[in-house]
């Protein structure tokens, strides 16, 4: 909490180590998974979930809550651990990771009550987060904030840079991108390793308020997120210098441990981590949102007037699309249109001409177009139409497939 002298720093450090232990236990139980990718982000998760973020355990996808998108979806175990430690489901359930009988899958999917979009195909989370932030800032106008965690290896994806461009263009000051710069990728070190100055310069060049922090220092992280909340007119990038496998002796910062359960090593490492937990009894909990997002009605949308054509007319179907889009928008304020700089060809500009504030130009960045569309549609916030030439959706196929995982759930961790 900003200016709060009573932050229990030790409890947050302890929570980070609990999350590390949970990640080891879960991946050992499934004999697979990515514990070292979890370890590098343990302090970030502890600070976000037990200090910074405002959300409700009773309604994990409440529209008023802060959002967290784990773009590096393979670190799912620590995301599951955070929700379990926050009280959404028993910590014991984490041992069902990756089992057929559990929805705690290898990578997060919306089968889980606390996941908005599936991640795991790297590079996609940030555009989704930007879509959520756009809706929060411009449509909901509610103070919820959006946090997106991106891996450093993942940051080589062009789609990340498309999304950064979008976020800064639209001044998404309710968006915080956290780069987990743990130096290593899957099969070798990342291209930039720990060149924090290069990340910083790039993010600044992209128009971000950029901060380089020690990603294992709880106090620095708290300060960074507090600072982000005061920045206006720009999104913030928290570039966290971290170590892959942090806190795992003989594994930390070493190659060849990506995507491997710790196995027999695990027991020793758990003891080592437990020894550092000094204040195990403190219970931390989520802070509640400060304001309610507006209620919106997205069902039973109709055209404002039926189609009106004469038999003798000749009309392109693309033009009829624009006409219908505008008629839908007449009857529902949450009908929005996105396009990738082809609006005068697809005729999505018909909506823009009538309701400029409900049109979102995504520029020539189709992966971002689809990612932002996905994010904007989350939590029942908007009815989203995204258009471009049919040919250019080809490059968004990965985003399209990621948008499809499952529908709804009634229990946090098991199939319903």
């Amino acid at each position: 909490m900003k200016g709060d002298k009573n932050v229990n720093i030790q409890a947050l450090k302890d929570m980070a180590n609990k999350l590390r232990i949970d990640s080891i236990v879960a991946t050992n139980a499934s004999k697979s998974g990515h514990p070292t990718s979890c370890a590098s982000m343990a302090e970030i998760m502890s600070v976000l979930f037990f200090h910074t973020m405002r959300y409700k355990i009773s309604a994990p996808r409440d529209p008023s809550s802060d959002r967290f998108i784990l773009s590096k979806g393979h670190a799912a175990p620590i995301l599951y651990a955070a929700w379990a430690e926050a009280g959404l489901f028993p910590v014991e359930d984490l041992k069902n990771l990756r089992k057929f009988e559990s929805d705690l899958e290898g990578h997060p999917t919306p089968r889980l009550s606390f996941i908005d979009v599936g991640t795991g195909s790297l590079g996609q989370g940030l555009a989704v987060a930007a879509g959520m932030a756009y809706v929060g800032k411009y449509f909901d106008q509610t103070p919820y904030r959006v946090y997106c965690l991106v891996g450093d290896g993942e940051a080589a994806e062009g789609s990340i840079w498309e999304a950064l461009h979008f976020a800064s263009h639209y001044k998404l000051d309710n968006l915080v991108v956290i780069f987990d710069v743990n130096r290593l990728g899957q099969s070798e070190p990342t291209s930039l390793q720990h060149q924090m100055d290069v990340y910083d310069a790039r993010l600044k060049a992209f128009g971000f308020h950029s901060l380089v922090v020690d990603g294992h220092d709880v106090s620095e992280l708290i300060k960074a997120f507090d600072e982000a909340a005061t920045v206006t007119g720009k999104p913030t990038a928290v570039i966290a210098k971290t170590y892959k496998g942090k806190g795992f002796p003989n594994i930390e910062d070493k190659e060849n441990w990506h995507g491997k359960a710790l196995g027999a090593e695990g027991e020793k490492i758990i003891k080592h981590l437990q020894a550092q937990i000094t204040d195990g009894g403190v219970s931390l909990s989520a802070r509640a949102p400060t304001a309610d997002a507006p209620r919106v009605h997205l069902r039973d949308v109709t055209l404002s007037a039926p189609p009106a054509y004469e038999r003798a007319q000749r009309v392109a179907t693309r033009l009829a699309y624009g006409t219908a889009l505008r008629k839908l928008a007449d009857t529902n304020m949450r009908v929005i249109a996105l396009d990738g700089d082809t609006k005068n060809s697809t005729f999505s500009d018909k909506l823009r001409n009538a309701y400029p504030e409900r049109y979102v130009e995504c520029f020539i960045a189709e992966q971002t177009l689809v990612g932002v569309a996905m994010g904007a549609a989350c939590r029942q916030r908007a009815i989203v139409f995204a258009s471009t030439f049919a040919a250019f959706f080809t490059r968004t196929f990965d985003q399209v497939t990621s948008s499809t995982s499952s529908t709804s759930t009634t229990s946090p961790t098991s199939p319903t």
């Binding site: 309604a59 919306p110 009550s113 039973d300 949308v301 109709t302 055209l303 039926p306 189609p307 009106a308 054509y309 004469e310 038999r311 003798a312 007319q313 000749r314 009309v315 392109a316 179907t317 693309r318 033009l319 009829a320 699309y321 006409t323 219908a324 889009l325 008629k327 839908l328 082809t342 060809s345 697809t346 999505s348 689809v370 996905m374 994010g375 549609a377 989350c378 939590r379 029942q380 009815i383 139409f385 995204a386 258009s387 030439f389 049919a390 040919a391 250019f392 959706f393 080809t394 196929f397 399209v400 948008s403 499809t404 995982s405 499952s406 529908t407 709804s408 759930t409 009634t410 229990s411």
Partner: protein, 221 residues
């Protein structure tokens, strides 16, 4: 109850197929139906006139999961009355008689080619039934089977899309277990090039005369 819906996104692809004309193959959507049909939770609309397009947009707004609407660049005739009701997964028969000898299936610009082919065939004494699928996924498989049988088991399907994964293969799948049905599939079989829209539609084998010829061939079998 925590039943919360998954993101419902509507994607709209314009400029499908060779019928865009002069801009050439880099601008032609020729794999988009394959792409979206492959997605289990997708609904794929391929409306053929302005009336059905407006209704497709309205239906997409109210449909769960991902919706894709394929639109075309050329101006085309109005086929439907303004009060026609459309449903996801419900095909329309736009032309039929009790004497039909062949079923023609097209969507977007090729539905208009199929209708023109039906006119040509009629002049030669052959009645053709014409089906508009409206949605390619889900395809109204029951209607495809029923009308294929009613038209003597002869089907021509024509689409402004590559051979793999589009309307043609959807129709072929629907008819896979039908005895005594033969299908001709007209589609774009090679990488296209620039040219005038009508010229390309003809050169790549999608125009009315190709549809009529394919129907005649089936009648010879």
């Amino acid at each position: 109850m925590g039943a919360i819906s998954q993101s419902d996104m509507n994607l709209v692809g314009s400029h499908c197929g060779v019928s865009i004309g002069e801009d050439g193959p880099s601008q032609m959507g020729l794999e988009d139906l394959a792409l979206f049909r492959a997605v289990p939770t997708a609904t794929v609309f391929y409306p053929s006139d302005a009336v059905s397009t407006e209704r497709a947009v309205e239906l997409a707004a109210n449909t769960k999961g991902i919706c894709y609407i394929r639109t075309s660049r050329p101006e085309t005739a109005i086929i439907y009355d303004s009060d026609t009701v459309f449903k996801v997964g419900e095909a329309k028969i736009v032309r039929e008689s009790a004497q039909d000898k062949v079923l023609l299936i097209g969507a977007g610009i090729t539905l208009h080619e199929a209708l023109a082919a039906a006119d040509d065939l009629q002049k030669k004494g052959v009645s053709a039934r014409v089906l508009d699928p409206f949605t390619v996924k889900p395809l109204d498989e029951r209607a495809v089977r029923e009308h294929a049988r009613a038209a003597g088991g002869r089907v021509v399907v024509v689409e402004d899309h590559y051979q793999a994964g589009g309307l043609g293969e959807a129709v072929l799948s629907a008819l896979a277990a039908e005895r005594d049905v033969v299908v001709r599939h007209l589609c774009v079989r090679s990488v296209p090039r620039s040219g005038a829209p009508a010229q390309l539609v003809d050169a790549f084998g999608l125009s009315a005369r190709h549809v009529a010829a394919a129907a005649q061939e089936l009648l010879q079998l």
